[in-house]
């Protein structure tokens, strides 16, 4: 190896740390922040309605299994971590590792989905539907809307894995990966709020 100054992957990573860098294109952040505002509205309405009938909400909450919620939260946290590691691998041109990590993140999402389906079917079997009471209305609609986001995210993640495996060009491909990663972190972030709101708050 020649001595002297070489631009290595680490230097590139270090450089992108020093300058301010927008992950993904700006439009993605229009969508992400807009989505977060919509969910914030849903959160606020939920807490408001809870205040109108805290006893009903507490009693209904008790029929939920917070263990499912805990496990799901950890699954999403882990999947987000995998995505961060994957992006690191992409920036170090470790294509196959990146693709593998994206797939792992997707599998976490799949696990989340399975538990969600399991949870819904348990509740429906116990005759607890969105029309049972206000708590259950919010439970199904809030987690359902989030679930739709998870499913979309998993589809995006699949494309990200395929793109990473092919090797990403510096320009457009990296931007798509960053955007997709940011979207997935948002999905994680929203569930971090949903978990205590629905399963834990007293």
């Amino acid at each position: 190896m020649m001595s002297g100054i070489e631009v290595t992957a680490d230097t590139r990573v270090a450089r992108s740390r020093a300058e301010r860098h927008l992950p993904g294109e700006e439009g993605v952040w229009v969508f992400i922040m807009g989505d977060m505002v919509v969910f914030a509205l849903f959160f606020a309405v939920f807490v408001w309605y809870r205040g109108l009938d805290p006893v009903l909400f507490s009693e209904s909450q008790a029929t939920l299994n917070a263990g499912y919620g805990l496990f799901n939260t950890c699954l999403l946290l882990t999947s987000s971590w995998f995505v961060v590691l994957a992006m690191n691998a992409v920036r170090r041109d470790l294509d196959r590792q990146a693709a593998l990590l994206f797939v792992l993140a997707l599998l976490c999402g799949l696990g989340f989905s399975l538990i969600k389906v399991l949870e819904y079917s348990e509740k429906i079997a116990a005759d607890l539907t969105p029309l049972s009471n206000d708590f259950y209305m919010f439970y199904y609609i809030l987690t359902g809307l989030h679930f739709v986001h998870v499913i979309i995210g998993m589809v995006v993640m699949l494309f990200m894995a395929l793109l990473a495996r092919r090797g990403v060009s510096r320009s457009g491909g990296l931007s798509f990966l960053e955007g997709g990663a940011s979207y997935w972190h948002m999905v994680d972030l929203l569930w971090i709020v949903l978990f205590p709101l629905i399963y834990l708050m007293k």
Binding site: E26, G27, G34, D35, L41, F42, V45, Y49, L145
Partner: protein, 229 residues
């Protein structure tokens, strides 16, 4: 492409806004919507107490709805200019958008019918009112398809000078999201997911307003920057 024709299409959309605000809100007092939880008697009373306002407001709404049609056509014609974007997306927008107009026209005539013979059985008036509000506020699918086709077209645009900035695509995707809760109003007569609820009515309305303004400005820029052929 003839620029003045396009500008006409654009400003007709502004006319739509004015006529709808006058007709729907100021004259008919339909915003905020009458609650689905009201009894038939209360609905009949609502119509009787504002008969002329509703009847005239609906005429204004008809005019406003008509003015929306050129706007939709304009969006599609700009979409056709995008290179690498399949023309079928422009046609999808055209269809989705024109269905959205129809979705307003039918309720306008149902409201008119309800106000036409106010002395009839209140339950019939209530049914007409129910149908009008459900058709107007719940039919989210054509709008969502319209939004998705615009969004995809913008993302796939490879023109040397982009017709719309890329973030316009994401505003369209966000509006599609904002319309999803509207589908829930079939289950509820009160609460945030009823047709007068915060999440099933107001959220889609705000989303539409933001979308409309963004598209208006984006179209204005696109027309202005267009080279005369």
């Amino acid at each position: 492409m003839n620029k003045s024709a396009q500008y006409f299409c654009l400003w007709s959309a502004a006319a739509m806004g004015v006529f709808v605000i006058i007709g729907w809100w100021l004259l008919a007092h339909f915003v905020p919507p009458p609650s689905p939880g009201w009894t038939a008697g209360e609905i009949a009373e609502f119509y009787v107490s504002n008969l002329t306002g509703i009847r005239t407001g609906m005429i204004f709404m008809l005019v406003g709805a008509g003015f929306f049609i050129p706007f939709i056509a304009l969006i599609s014609s700009q979409m056709r200019r995008m290179e690498h974007t399949p023309p079928v997306l422009a046609y999808t927008q055209l269809l989705g958008g024109s269905m959205s107009v129809m979705i307003i026209l039918i309720p306008i005539m149902l409201w008119t019918t309800a106000a036409f013979r106010p002395e009839r059985n209140p339950e019939i008036t209530q049914m007409l009112n129910d149908a009008a509000w459900l058709i107007t506020a719940m039919t989210f699918s054509p709008g969502i398809i319209q939004n998705l086709s615009i969004g995809l077209a913008v993302l796939w645009d490879r023109s040397a000078k982009r017709i719309f900035p890329r973030w316009v695509a994401y505003v369209n995707f966000w509006m599609a999201l904002g319309f999803l809760p509207a589908g829930l109003m079939t289950y509820f007569k009160t609460g945030p997911f009823a047709w007068n609820g915060l999440l099933a009515f107001w959220l889609p309305l705000v989303a539409f307003t933001i979308w409309f303004n963004v598209m208006f400005i984006a179209l204005m820029r696109a027309i202005r920057e267009q080279r005369d052929s």
